[in-house]
């Protein structure tokens, strides 16, 4: 996942590569993802979130739908 200055920059990037436009995330949402994944990474108890936990984390910051489902099969 990459930074872009604006949505227009995302559209240009996708068009140049023939790639579909996927969801955009704000800096604030990204920070909450960073905390959820990495805040305890240097502790003995650290672990990656499981599928259900991932869904809860995404939904909790407004990221819904099959794109954010780690077990979805509707995206190629």
């Amino acid at each position: 996942m990459s930074f872009f200055r604006s949505e227009d920059m995302v559209d240009q990037w996708c068009a140049a590569r023939g790639r579909p436009r996927r969801p955009l995330v704000s800096l604030e949402q990204l920070w909450r993802l960073a905390l959820a994944w990495y805040e305890n990474r240097l502790s003995p108890e650290a672990r990656r979130p499981g599928p259900d936990e991932m869904r809860r984390i995404f939904a909790g910051i407004g990221l819904h739908g099959p794109f954010w489902d780690p077990q979805a099969d509707r995206f190629g």
Binding site: M1, S2, F3, F4, R5, S6, E7, M9, V10, Q12, W13, C14, A16, R19, R21, R22, P23, L24, V25, S26, L27, E28, Q29, L30, W31, L33, A34, L35, W37, Y38, E39, R41, L42, P44, A46, R48, M54, F58, P66, F67, W68, D69, P70, Q71, A72, D73, F75
Partner: protein, 146 residues
């Protein structure tokens, strides 16, 4: 604590302290285990999606959020500069280190430099968006691209 957890912590603590990934030899000496044992443990950590290794099977490519190789996402924390794997991980470095940091990256389309100050409570507002090109179910199909 099991041996793989001990190794994982040693890897992360080495990166936090030195801003570079440790070699198999360094982990072997630090933990008093043979290089073969460390290599085997690396493979187990890879299987658990804790580490991503380079093609040689023993150099650390990713210990998320840290990158073992130079990338376009640099994160300065204190007097150290870390490399992160992606936009998410760029914010993940200060989150993991529980410290303020300065992210230096770029707009992926215009290549314009992008600088983000990250305090203990999060990033200061900067005009930008983050595009997730790969659905969550496929992140680990090619995690380096993701």
């Amino acid at each position: 604590m099991d041996a793989d957890t001990e190794l994982r912590l040693a890897i992360y603590r080495h990166i936090a302290a030195n801003a570079v990934a440790p070699s198999v030899t360094q982990m072997s000496r630090a933990l008093g285990r043979s290089a073969a044992e460390i290599r085997a443990a690396y493979q187990r950590l890879y299987a658990r999606r804790v580490l991503v290794l380079q093609d040689d099977g023993e150099s650390i490519r990713m210990a998320p959020p840290f990158s073992g190789v130079e990338t376009q996402h640099r994160v300065r924390v204190g007097d150290k500069e870390y490399f992160a794997n992606c936009a998410w991980d760029a914010l993940g470095v200060p989150a993991a280190l529980h410290a303020a940091g300065q992210v230096s990256s770029r707009c992926e389309q215009s290549l314009e430099p992008l600088s983000i100050r990250v305090g203990r409570d999060g990033p200061e507002p900067v005009p930008c968006v983050i595009h997730f090109a790969v659905p969550a179910a496929h992140w680990w199909d090619d995690i380096v691209y993701t």
